[in-house]
Symmetry: none
Subunit: 220 residues, 2 copies
Amino acid sequence: MSPGVIRVVLVDDEPMVCAHLRAILDSAPDITVVDQAQDGAAAVEAVVRHRPHVVLMDLRMPGVDGLTAIERIARLPEPPAVVALTTFDADQYVVRALRAGAAGFLVKTTPPEDLIGLVRVAADGHTVLSPAATRRLVAVRAGEQAARDRALHRVRELTERETEVLAGLGEGLSNAQIAGRLSLSEATVKSYVSRMLVKLECANRTQAGLLAYHAGLVTR
Amino acid sequence: MSPGVIRVVLVDDEPMVCAHLRAILDSAPDITVVDQAQDGAAAVEAVVRHRPHVVLMDLRMPGVDGLTAIERIARLPEPPAVVALTTFDADQYVVRALRAGAAGFLVKTTPPEDLIGLVRVAADGHTVLSPAATRRLVAVRAGEQAARDRALHRVRELTERETEVLAGLGEGLSNAQIAGRLSLSEATVKSYVSRMLVKLECANRTQAGLLAYHAGLVTR
DNA sequence: GCTAGCCCGCAACTTTCGTTGCACGTCAGA
DNA sequence: TCTGACGTGCAACGAAAGTTGCGGGCTAGC
């Protein structure tokens, strides 16, 4: 599968956790834990020294914390894949960790037997996320998903042309601007808007614009 | 590793691609391709019939497209993990696919030998992303964050009364409705709106409404 | 005590929006 | 073939949204 053995560095301020992870990973023939570190500074050193393929890193640590360590490691030449670990459900660090250059975000409740596969995938350069992290990443607020579903359901009732017009509303454009973009007369755009408002059960273009946003029609 | 064999359904309008994927995956002892489909509608049927653990789905297909199919599958009871596939580098569909309920987003240039591990990880409930998809996703989320910050920064320039009016815009209310809620004349609300638009650098109330939403003024 | 600056409130006027009615093409089915 | 439903496009008219100007109250500073 992988060309050669996958070298792994573990970073956690709790030695028990490191030992536990090491025991799991060393049971795989193609994975070797080459070092472990107790804080961010030591982690960066270990990475420089051992040039591992994968780093499993706790985020909450004394001294240099995990996020900072990830940033520093990501700046190294040919950086390893750093997978962030947290005790609690994916918290607000998901986005920041990925931005810092993390190649994954897992909760510590991840079943041990899954971990080996996850390390292999990370070593291949892919990103792996716990389900909770994915939810966090995709839908910031709870309830947003439900709103999106409802919005999408209605948007699907629209014709292609109507959807294009709706996208314009989602950006807050005027009828004239939409007309220009779609090469239509302003009058035509008006009639599209009017028909859409009925279908979407919106009272005015502002509501339709918000709905377009909910539906993910506007990337912004 | 996994309890039993992982059942997989392949969805791609190009039979060659399906055959190729099937050959790769069937070489793994713990993976079985139980069915393949050429479009979204057939994909949903196949999922209902075979109850697979994982679905590999092309996004660009004739008829019911991949995104729609993902949404429908995600609404089924005990849905499988749907991994989206695209030919090109992660395009604008990444966010939408994940929001629709996808458990992964891979480019078709993914090395075959990686694919088996990726399917196993997806079957465990984790999310897998190609590097390009991750960059795209992080960039989008970072952009949203920045948009929110900018929005909040501007909203702070507003007076209390103006903020109340803005909240109304964020719900898509008319001037008359806002006037009623705040016990003002409609004319007064208009002047507030006009002053706000200048401060917020918005061209119209729809843009202001979207800004209010970004700023978190509307709970919805 | 004046005045400069700000927030608040309103009315008259202009611009944009939204509704309604109409015409043309396409496509499915009687 | 015809017909009825539907998507698309436009124009005219009434209804909103948005602009501008004005006055009153409040506070800070000279």
